[in-house]
Symmetry: C2
Subunit: 620 residues, 2 copies
């Protein structure tokens, strides 16, 4: 008797497992069922279909060789039967059969199995608020809704969009709406930063700046209370304001879809995923589960973590296919790599960010390094902003996050550190990471090596750093006259700051510092500043040698500028000091103005877009 | 008494160690000496200075904040004394002093040390042949020679260049000459491939094709016997021909510069590097050495390996600085990551290539995968060609090599696998590598994961593959009628091949194969072919199920075309099947013609450029 396998769910993990199984056990009878008519599609491509980067929805359902992955394809090319528009109603674990119903005919029947795979995926989180059922309130969780959204947009019916949630999907949707279609877009996020859970406060400030620069309004720490409208949604009411909207997209994450498993009495995790072992076997040895309906083991914390990622679903699917065939293959766990495009910026990371690391009980700190993607003497360099999260007690690296206009160059660094993470690397492993070197691609001491080096200096207590949040706080209270901002760059770079902030901003170039030590008041809090944090580190050591103490602004003016400067564009910022020669006054005026805004914004936890309007209207 | 440190050599490792030491031990007295007047420069930038990508030689000697790294800079900003134009003559290890001579004044003196660092670097290999001393025969090992070369070129004195050696530097120099300056350039290599030791035969064939496409002549398996000319070099005579040349650049690698160490009685390795322990301490505990004058420990073979890389020198320098300060820091070893730009192609790798793995005693095989850099439904995809080298006995991954027009996207995959290599990863660790996924940057099952998957299928005996060399051999003997080339793509793709090679080329699309099995002759050698090796793998499984046996062309037509197609340009090739719709006849005519050339070239071990000329002149 051939092995009978039923797979419930035919989007990502299900098909991958079914096909792998058939390759290993060609005689197995595999039946895959799905509620939907469209199966086996690239769900992560939905925002790019809406933006038009992917021109036809069918591109998401075809193979790389342009065959449509429909029931015919699975039958003929893969030997897998697929029942679409078919709902799984219940699992009889004793009789080993699944009760299914056709959504076309209403007909019910039992499908017997030897092994069953639950690839039931996730359910989008929705707000349970008044108006949530109005027309034109969408998720982006399936291709059908995406097609409807794009039709509305293409028909010119959408002028103002509200996205609820500033996670990866929310920001991808914001870009899709605002960039190509020119829709006036507002993103509302209940947390106090964009990409919460993924990146830390400093990088998220930079992303917010970039979104603002691209005319996308970001409202943080704000709660949506109700949606209003006749039939269609017309307004979004938050705890702070009312916003006009022709469409609302809920992008507040997803949760495991486990009803079928729960009804069948399978064990769940505390978080609510289906509990599986390292082979993806549930509490019933004849039933497997994987992808968005389970939790994975975190290779950082060694505790379960929910990572609903298409890439993980694919890799897990292959392993499950192997196990269904009778062979044994284990899954070690995941570090949670991610990458997301936000207009002209790429944000990526792996492992824990600083706040999550602390929440997990680590005594964590982070190092921030800003450096070019190529050897510094090479042309067309762009900056990479990288943050390394480290456990102070053990020196273990817990995560990396970063951003850059160069996505692939950023990925090269993040993916390399991600590869290390499962081996519990120490800071020295990052210092000595072998990023392939040649001037067009990297630096001899690459940004990621320097990230390890800076972390090592912080760990050793040699480099006492201050982050951008704390810097902005000190800066905004500079009138209290307790702090000296010690600018150790050349006079040309420092001049506009010295002129603007005479009492608190002092310029002594790093190479002159040792001989001019007596110019520095002894009773003040010293913050050393250079363009990227390197020379200011050397300045700290000189201060220390002279018996003084100070802190170093992490990432220097380069980080500061990216964080606070609304008006300069990305390319200009990325050029760093070079740009100053071309347009030095404007550049620093922008920075100073922005710094002022930022400090105020930080104090008030307000959006810069609105704050600027208020300032310009004279009511700050 | 402050610690006295002498550093001999002030290019890369020396300055890095000196500066790190001063940061950790500010009171140390550090003196760095160098024969040259120019110090602390980015030697890896030399080809880019010659090409003009780096416009001024001073860019190679300045910091990222535009300060010249001269003796003044080291004294004032770093607290390090530098004696330039100063030669170290001898080390007195008992008295702990170094005898030095000023190349300006001839004056000699002794410099006492507590600790000594040998950063003496490497010596370029030169041919000891008649004419080697002629004018305009250069190395590219120091900035002075580079400046002379560029002056000659800029003055229009160079029309024909010969580069001896097709390693990284040789190919970078070839591009510098041919691309920007339009110099007629020939590269002569004694090995039978370009980038010998770095990449395998299949990828090197692709690189050669790309060089030929960029009008750079590559002569393989050819030995330079003498240089001829009056004062200047005018001709290069090899064992096969005479080539006119206005300049000859020797790029045949380097060897450790150890004379000083040897004279002082320090132990050397068999290869001839200075022997050091994991802290870079030589056989004399007061003397350290690192960079190009030592061998590093290979993390793959656990034997010494010579890796003269600027990046390694920088990282080792920092560790040596730590050790010189009295702290303890060890260096684990290296996997030898590299990356090199060859016109519009990037080539990168880490660990062992196939032939080197076999030479090191591994029972090695390799998997080749060709896949796009993005989700396949995304626009503007480019192909990545990746080869994974695996030990058959243990399943251990020994190395990765690849090429692509997208350098950073290639680096993302290679650097991630490089990061794994020191942990002795198995194939499954590559299958499950967490390349950060989002459609603009990667595939849900990324090329590097598929590389692991293919290797696993080969290991398990499910996927029996044939490489391009062997394919070309079979193809060129197709008249013997022993082989069926079973093309399992769609009819439109297969048609031109079927028409051209009726007797040996059969088209049965993969999804029809099971039902058309009886069309396949049972007595022939079967080679399954699709566009990238995926569907042909499924075809193999179907053949197997039907009791037949076959082999799968690794990387499919995509790899074949990159390897053999001289006339199509890179972008067209990378588009793969899509292109066929636009210009199908021309595309396949090119391929077929090139396949014929390639088979002939392979048989004769000849250059294609010359072979094509011969064919066109009717004398093949």
């Amino acid at each position: 008797m051939p092995l009978k396998i039923i797979v419930i769910g035919a989007v990502a993990l299900g098909p991958k497992a079914a096909v792998r199984l058939k390759r290993l056990a060609p005689d197995a009878e595999v039946t895959m069922i799905d509620r939907d008519a469209i199966i086996s599609y690239g769900g992560c491509g939905i925002p790019y279909f809406i933006s038009g980067d992917v021109s036809e929805s069918t591109q998401l359902t075809t193979t790389s060789f342009h065959m449509v992955r429909d029931t015919q394809f699975f039958r003929k090319a893969k030997g897998v039967e697929v029942l679409t528009r078919t709902e799984a109603l219940a699992i009889d674990r004793v009789q080993k059969k699944v009760r299914v119903r056709s959504l076309e005919t209403g007909e019910e029947k039992d499908l017997p199995y030897d092994k069953l795979l639950l690839a039931t995926g996730s359910i989008p989180n929705r707000l349970d608020i008044p108006g949530a059922g109005l027309d034109r309130v969408f998720n982006v969780s399936n291709l059908g809704e995406a097609v409807k959204i794009r039709e509305l947009i293409a028909n010119g019916e959408i002028e103002r969009a509200v996205i609820v949630g500033a996670g990866s999907i929310g920001l991808e949707m914001a870009e899709a709406m605002a960039d190509l279609w020119g829709i006036e877009t507002t993103v509302i996020e209940i947390a106090d930063q964009v990409l919460p859970g993924l990146i830390g406060s400093e990088l998220s400030g930079m992303v917010t700046t970039h979104l603002n620069e691209n005319e996308t309004e970001i409202l943080l720490s704000e709660r949506v209370e109700r949606l209003e409208g006749a039939e269609r949604v017309e307004r979004v009411v938050t705890n702070r304001r009312t916003i006009e909207a022709d469409i609302v997209v809920m992008a507040m994450g997803v949760r495991p879809n486990v009803k079928l498993a729960q009804d069948a009495g399978l064990e769940l995790t505390d978080f609510g995923g289906i509990k599986v072992n390292s082979r993806f076997m549930t509490s019933d040895p004849n039933i497997y589960a994987g992808g968005d309906c389970i939790e994975s083991m975190s290779l950082i914390t060694e505790r379960p973590v929910y990572l609903p990622l298409g890439s993980l679903a694919n890799r897990q699917g292959r392993i499950i296919g192997t196990n269904l065939s009778g062979a044994v293959e284990e899954f070690d766990g995941a570090v949670g790599s991610f990458i997301v495009k936000v207009f002209d910026l790429t944000v990526a990371g792996a492992g824990l960010n600083l706040s999550r690391a602390r929440a997990e009980g680590f005594d964590a700190f982070s190092a921030l390094v800003v450096q070019g993607n190529k050897a510094h003497f090479f042309q067309d360099m762009e900056l990479l902003y990288l943050e390394l999260v480290v456990d102070r007690r053990t020196g273990r690296v817990l995560g990396i996050q970063g951003l850059s206009p160069l996505g692939d160059a950023l990925a090269a660094r993040v993916d390399a550190v991600a590869a290390l993470l499962k081996y519990k690397p120490l800071v020295r492993d990052v210092s000595n990471l072998e990023i392939a070197y040649s001037p067009p691609y990297s630096a001899a001491m690459d940004v990621v090596n320097n990230l390890g080096n800076v972390a090592e200096n912080i760990l050793a207590g040699r480099n006492e750093v201050i982050d951008l949040d704390n810097f902005a706080n000190l800066f905004s209270s500079r009138d209290e006259n307790r702090t000296i901002f010690l600018d150790v760059r050349g006079p040309a770079n420092a001049k506009p700051f010295v002129e603007q902030f005479k009492d608190s901003w002092v310029n002594i170039p790093q190479e002159e510092l040792e001989n001019r030590m007596d110019e520095i008041p002894g009773d003040k809090d010293l913050i050393a500043i250079c363009n990227n944090g390197t020379r200011s580190y050397e300045a700290l050591l000189a201060l220390k040698k002279a018996g003084k103490k100070g802190r170093n602004l992490q990432g220097g003016v380069a980080a500061l500028k990216k964080w606070v400067c609304k008006t300069s564009n990305f390319v200009e910022i990325a050029k760093g000091e070079k740009l100053t020669r071309r347009n030095i006054t404007k550049y620093f005026e922008d920075l100073i103005l922005s710094l002022t805004y930022a400090a105020a914004a930080l104090a008030k936890r307000r959006s810069w877009v609105r704050l600027k309007d208020e300032v310009l209207q004279g009511s700050p």
